[in-house]
Symmetry: C2
Amino acid sequence: MSRSRSQLRLIDVAEQAGVSLATASRALAGREGVSEAVADRVRQVSRDLGYVANPHARQLAGGATSTVGLIVHQIDDLYFSEIASGMIQLAGERGLMVQICHSGRDPDAELAQIRHLSAQRVGVIIVAGSGYTDPGTEAMARAALLAFQERGGRVAVIGRHALNVDAVLPDNRDGGRAITEHLLALGHRRIAVVAGPEELTTVADRLAGAAEALAVHGLSLDRLPVAYADFTCPGGREAAARILRERSTPTAIIALNDAMAIGVLSALRAQRVRVPDEISVVGFNDVSIAQDLAPSLTTVRLPLAEMGRQALAMALKPRSARPRKRATGHHLIVRDSTASVS
Amino acid sequence: MSRSRSQLRLIDVAEQAGVSLATASRALAGREGVSEAVADRVRQVSRDLGYVANPHARQLAGGATSTVGLIVHQIDDLYFSEIASGMIQLAGERGLMVQICHSGRDPDAELAQIRHLSAQRVGVIIVAGSGYTDPGTEAMARAALLAFQERGGRVAVIGRHALNVDAVLPDNRDGGRAITEHLLALGHRRIAVVAGPEELTTVADRLAGAAEALAVHGLSLDRLPVAYADFTCPGGREAAARILRERSTPTAIIALNDAMAIGVLSALRAQRVRVPDEISVVGFNDVSIAQDLAPSLTTVRLPLAEMGRQALAMALKPRSARPRKRATGHHLIVRDSTASVS
DNA sequence: ATGAAAGCGCTAACAA
DNA sequence: TTGTTAGCGCTTTCAT
């Protein structure tokens, strides 16, 4: 109840070190204007006493903020939790805390989260969820982020957004092409696609890559079955079930992320369809369990944890004149869920 | 660069409403000492202007804090990410933010995180990782949490009994007994156990439950193969490999969490051991992918997301005289990874 | 019921 | 190089 004193303040450190408040502040912040000797002494005292600055006072006084807000669709999705893991690790190294918010794949909720984080005066906002293909959808978010940046906030996103900020760009198009080429090389021609919502740029880009590869072989997505559903495991199950109900079953199914691929495998198993003997299945992302599925999943590896680190690292750099873009690269990981068409 | 004004302050709302700062503060905080009419007007103006309080100023002035710190072993583990998901959801409903830290299953790191969160002046700390059986290890954490509570902070833990704070207690012992009884009822007697580190209370409790069930049939863990490894998927792979190298192979393997069970299934597949025909496998937790594995995993369901909600809900209640304990309950979920011994 | 004013712990001008 | 001081935006006595 009674908030007993006990919590160390900067003034306590200053007194112990025999310097003024200002000098102590400068020394600990690593700012100039303090002799090395004095600075060392202050830091030593601070360490001995176990002093930790009050971030609220610090931010209120106009100093640096130590918290970063991360917006994900949902944290209990390995794509996001692996990204978050990498980001939390880097944050830890830099003495920062990561606040996680859910957008639930809803642009309005995402906007609300951006506004909330901004109002909370976090120092950095990272948007990790996919962008939206509709140009209008992100207009409000762009305005909110712009206002946030104008107040000194830093921003980075993961994925292709129309937000005009620093971005880590997953190799969605090239990855989509690579995974499709893999199936084509195995002789597959009757290929079905299990996709997340069309309005996600992630989905659009991966589809575009697939279309490129298909075109080389005179195939087109327009004439192939493409089943849209939630970009999740249950979504994959549902989409696969729909595809299996069509007259001609495919010899291969491309799921646009691993979560959907897991759902596809589950649905195929329920129907006693053997993978890869009867149908090959591929995913995208290479989340950690992909290698432990049965059959293990052929997929496109994105460096998820590294992407999280990179996004935060970008945001922590001094702001550049124009938005930075950084591509992730990708690797095709061939495992047991694909085989050549018999 | 220049931190342009633009951000609304309480004084702006007060002026618009034609009242003093103090009155506006009281009205928005829902404190008494303001007439209903005035309070309504202030709230109306606040809403119209889109005012959001500066949490740093608020906390510095001795008001309520709106952030909760969550300590997990690692967020990219479905056990924790599902717990976090539930907690983030409830936090959102209450207008709170959740900061996530990793302890990496290291008691020292965990202690450091507790201290850090405490120094950051979060309002609530939730420790979600397993406790440690060694009393000395928990002593430091208990002291740090006590100090935090003395300063007015609220604390809740998931699955730790030695901390003397509000706790959500997973049904580890009963669940361990239930899953073991299931195997025994199927006729299994040569049962191996794949366990996480002994010093985790979660591991100890689940083992104790298993031992109880085994004792009924005259069996003892001492005479059964128990392989310890990391409480993760790779750990499960490694432990299973070790067990398979022994002379007499078991007819069933109990993995003490689903992550390890996934590793076990993976290792068995690599060795061409059929599940459940040759060996039955069970897990614990029922993370979301458990149902989509091949074979789908027989396991003990804990209400993970709900546990996250409950832990936060407990912490948000007014502090009680003595620590509250809340058991989770559990359900045995029988799927395809277990069969009766042939 | 309302207002005036004193901080909370820190940073950043401004002085010395 | 160092110290002094005025806030940051809010809550909370203490007056009125």
